[in-house]
């Protein structure tokens, strides 16, 4: 038996209190005055002796109560080493994040981690239960708590190299959730390279619950110099291969200055090779002009020969789709030629332009098929034929897109075509008395795909804008007076973008501003759908398979996902119902979405995994919660021998103390009642 808080035993001195009260203190009663004791004689009643017997009982209860309280606060425990070893749940957490694919002296870190985990299992006590956990971006429990070593070994050996980003915060959260159901002591043995980038932003997320003792097993030699392709910027869709430009950033983590040869690979074929000087522990940018890809989807990558212990991050994938220019239908008034001019010029000037503008009047648009166009623009159209509007709405709901520019004609109608909102008013800022005659752009939501480069909007003057009720639409930009300028409404699978002003230079001078080209370029690619599907993605990110708003209708069509290894990760049921899909592997995913579009998605490992710097020793000690705890792995048998845990009995003692307190109260009440009667 031992005490966790032996200083509380000093409280035993409090036992003197009942001794004083019952034995040392003179019993005092209130004396009664009488005129004379002349006729009285001394007498002692037998009941007083009985009461003194009760005094002894009360004394014993009070002494026992104090003794129990002191013992409870001293937290006694009994050591049961044999029982402890089998009661303690052993948790083996193996880090299988992308960085565990790095090599140390020819040995892959994950293999070393698995070997150490198997060693620990070999020394596990026979009856002790254990559980195997794999850790990357999520904590995956691979087995139930079992004592069968064969099951546990099979689980450890079955851990394969992952490509996700490890998170110790996720481990902390998972253990805290587990501790809510498992109240027995647990020992968590973590086999990891202790990458610094795996730490969460808040250290509190890593903290383990009270019944978990954390034992760290560091894998790897520590910080190893590593070069990596940090990012690649390439068009998702291109028309002119000569205009295409691929920009890659090669970064070094803890590396000396070195020269590296990077290659642009398309469908397994090296298109170009360039040398780049990477500064010590720095970054270098390399650009490839021209991207000669065949029509259709192409699997591209930028790779180089790193010559470092982590070859897995020496390449970055991206997908490119080459197609003929898509047509954009531009509907405008016959009298308005400037809008089409400005819009078409901007569309053609965009660096990644892959659209051809077709301009028509509303009367000519009555029988067109919008599905043949990337998107449709309604520019300052006073009245859209209802047939055309219904066709456009159906097209949007099935995945098409429409850009509506209100222009001056909004004052002639209350209803915004396709978008659905009502026009409350038209603001003629040029006629404002005493004002500047115009208003500038106010709040801009740069997270909207159409406004990624919104810096140039600050100097644009707006002379007219329609005040449209945005309703449930997302307001991407507002004028300085708060009038919504650019609104995005999702309808079914598609989007309608509403520009509250016009594309001519009568309602604003945006078409004369350089920002107009960037806006038209980004808006066009967003509306055409290229932006939503283009660009490389990180492992463990999610891709939306079908629109949750229109999920019921979309469930009639199934999606199709082909993983990088050629397998189909979705079952038939999942293909019919799943709304999103997690990209768990690096490589190229071939996907067919619920709206019928096909896409090739390039998935890369998280670039944070390339920084192999480990967590500082002080931080690790703080995490384990015991500076004296050995960080180096020890054998399981030795560890169990060194553990001095015990079964705590303080709460049993507190229960006994509570019972004693009740008994003391009952006895004391009886005694006090008698005393009152005597007085």
């Amino acid at each position: 038996m031992g005490f966790l808080a032996p200083w509380f035993l000093a409280g035993l001195a409090a036992l003197g209190l009942p001794v004083y009260v019952h034995l040392l203190r003179k019993q005092t009663t209130v004396p009664r005055p009488v005129s004379s004791l002349m006729f009285f004689e001394q007498g002692t009643q037998s009941s007083i002796r009985h009461r003194r017997l009760r005094y002894w009982l009360l004394f014993a209860l009070r002494t026992l109560l104090l003794l129990l309280l002191v013992l409870a606060f001293a937290q006694p425990f009994f050591r049961h080493k044999t029982v402890l070893a089998s009661d303690k749940l052993l948790l083996l957490a193996v880090d299988d994040s992308f960085s565990m694919n790095a090599k140390d002296g020819g040995t892959v870190r994950l293999d070393e981690a698995k070997r150490q985990a198997l060693d620990l299992l070999a020394h596990k006590a026979g009856g002790q239960k254990a559980q195997v956990i794999a850790l990357d971006g999520q904590m995956r429990v691979l087995t139930q708590p079992v004592a069968d070593t064969r099951v546990l070994r099979a689980a450890v050996e079955g851990i394969t190299p992952g490509e996700g980003h490890g998170s110790f915060g996720e481990l902390g959260r998972g253990m805290r959730a587990m501790a809510e159901t498992v109240h027995t002591p647990m020992e968590l043995d973590l086999f990891s390279d202790m990458q610094e980038s795996n730490m969460p932003g808040n250290f509190a997320d890593m903290v383990m619950p009270g019944n978990v003792s954390l034992v760290l097993h560091r894998i790897g030699a520590g910080a190893a110099p590593n070069w990596t392709v940090e990012s690649v910027q390439a068009p998702g869709q291109l028309v002119d291969t000569k205009k295409a430009r691929v920009i890659a950033v090669i970064a070094g983590h803890g590396t000396p200055a070195a020269s590296r040869t990077a290659s642009l690979v398309v469908n397994g074929k090296v298109l170009a090779t360039k040398k780049v000087d990477v500064p010590a522990d720095g970054r270098a940018t390399i650009a490839f002009d021209g991207l000669d890809v065949p029509y259709g989807e192409s699997r591209c990558s930028v790779r180089f020969d790193g010559g470092d212990p982590f070859p897995g991050d020496d390449a970055e994938n991206f997908a490119v789709k080459r197609a003929d220019p898509e047509r954009v239908l531009f509907v405008h008034q016959a009298s308005d030629n400037r809008s089409a001019l400005y819009f078409g010029t901007a569309l053609g000037a965009a660096a990644q332009a892959s659209f051809v503008l077709q301009t028509i009047t509303p009367e000519q648009a009555a029988e067109i098929d919008p599905t043949k166009y990337a998107f449709v623009v309604l520019s300052d159209v006073p009245a859209v034929p209802s047939v055309l509007e219904n066709v456009l709405i159906r097209n949007v709901e099935s995945g098409g897109s429409v850009l509506v520019a209100e222009g001056m004609s909004a004052g002639h109608r209350e209803h915004v075509p396709v978008f659905g909102g009502t026009v409350a008013d038209g603001h003629f800022y040029a006629r404002g008395a005493g004002g500047a005659g115009y208003v500038t752009a106010g709040a801009m939501d740069s997270s909207h795909p159409a406004l990624k480069d919104a810096n140039g909007w600050q100097g644009v003057k707006f002379f007219y804008a329609s005040a449209v009720d945005s309703g449930s639409a997302r307001v991407a930009a507002r004028l300085a007076d708060g009038t919504p300028l650019l609104m995005d409404r999702q309808m079914g699978e598609g989007h309608v973008l509403l520009f509250a002003s016009g594309f001519d230079n009568a309602t604003n001078d945006l078409p004369l501003n350089p920002a107009f080209v960037a806006f038209i370029d980004e808006a066009s690619r967003y509306l055409a759908g290229a932006e939503r599907m283009g660009g490389p993605r990180a492992v463990d990110s999610y891709v939306q398979l079908r629109n949750p708003v229109n999920a019921a209708a979309a469930s009639k069509t199934s999606v199709d996902v082909i993983a990088p290894d050629g397998s189909r990760p979705l079952s038939l049921k999942e293909a019919a119902t799943a709304q999103s899909f997690q990209l768990s592997r690096a490589g190229f995913y071939q996907m067919r979405f619920a709206n019928g579009r096909d896409a090739l998605l390039a998935v890369n490992a998280d670039p944070r995994e390339s920084d192999l710097r480990p967590i500082a020793d002080d931080t690790l000690k703080l995490w384990t919660g015991a500076t004296a705890q050995p960080e180096s792995p020890v054998t399981g048998q030795e560890q169990q021998q060194s553990q001095q845990g015990g079964s705590h009995v303080w709460w049993w003692i507190m229960l006994l103390a509570a019972i004693t307190a009740v008994a003391e109260t009952a006895v004391a009440s009886g005694y006090l009642g008698t005393e009152r009667e005597a007085i």
């Binding site: 004396p31 009285f40 007498g43």
Partner: protein, 304 residues
């Protein structure tokens, strides 16, 4: 109606002792219903030759005009019977189980008697307050303001010290040069023979001696529900006592003491009356008037 003011519990609410005395006596007198046995009207009784020191207000000036002799005209109620009250003011008189302590009750009795004597009977009255010695002595007199001196003496009589009958009685005999009525008010916590031995000389002097034995009801019938520690008010001595003893032996002793004291005082030619603080005050007044009448009976026939 006024009879209720003889109740000590009612009198306890009256702060002025003068008012207490007046209330008691008026109530008492009103309750007599002109009894012929207690005549204290202004009915003529006798003439007495004037002697120096007599109150000139009582001179019959008509007779003096006719005879040129100075006589005092005396009435039946004017027969002098000097009253002296001996009040025990020892600590034991502080005891009281109810609203009125023994000392308060004793004050009421003494004040009422003195008021009756001076105001109604025109008797000289005096007061001796004693405990183990004489603490205050107010000579008997009929002078104006005597009543208020006596009442002030009663007000100042706060219980203190122990009771000792020997010394005060011996001292009192030095002042007793005239027969009269001597009323001793005390709780008489002493041996009966000792009390009688101390008081008996007053009787030898020719005075009528009445012992008013004043006790609290709880002293005669104490109720003790459990073992208790009792403290003697005079000696501060403590004693643990059990209820069984109080219910049996104590009551027997007290009864024996009361009976013994009564027997011995009557054997010595003195009157003895037991007063309890929960009873009205009329019994003491009645006793006084009875004594006074018996003393004043010769004057009823001495008409010249």
């Amino acid at each position: 109606m006024l009879q209720r003011f003889l109740d000590p519990a009612v009198l306890q609410g009256i702060s002025s002792l003068d008012l207490v005395a007046r209330t008691v006596v008026d109530g008492f007198v009103a309750g007599l219903h002109r009894s012929p046995d207690f005549g204290f009207s202004m009915e003529f009784a006798e003439y007495r030759a004037y002697s120096p020191g007599d109150d000139l207000r009582h001179v019959d000036w008509n007779l003096f005009a006719r005879t040129e002799r100075c006589y005092l005209k005396r009435y039946r109620g004017d027969t002098n019977s000097q009253l002296t009250v001996l009040l025990d003011a020892s600590n034991s008189m502080k005891y009281g189980s109810g609203a009125v302590s023994k000392m308060d009750y004793a004050r009421y009795v003494a004040a009422s008697l003195l008021y009756l004597a001076i105001h109604n009977q025109h008797d000289p009255a005096g007061l001796i307050v004693f405990d183990d010695e004489v603490r205050n002595y107010i000579r008997p007199s009929t002078r104006s303001g005597q009543l208020y001196r006596l009442l002030a003496g009663l007000e100042q009589a706060e219980p203190a010290a122990r009771t000792d009958f020997g010394k005060p009685m011996q001292y009192f005999q030095q002042f007793l040069n005239r027969r009269g009525i001597v009323l001793v008010i005390s709780d008489f916590y002493a041996q009966p023979e000792e009390i009688v031995r101390a008081v008996e000389p007053l009787r030898f002097h020719g005075s009528d001696v009445v012992l008013f034995h004043l006790l609290d009801p709880k002293e005669i019938y104490p109720d003790l529900k459990g073992p208790s520690i009792l403290v003697d008010l005079e000696t501060d001595e403590k004693l643990e006592v059990i209820p069984d003893y109080v219910k049996t032996a104590y009551r027997a002793k007290m009864d024996r003491h009361l009976q013994d004291l009564s027997d011995r005082t009557q054997a010595a030619g003195m009157s003895y009356h037991l007063l309890t603080t929960d009873k009205p005050l009329d019994r003491a007044l009645t006793e006084y008037l009875t004594l006074r009448q018996s003393k004043g009976s010769p004057s009823r026939t001495g008409v010249r």
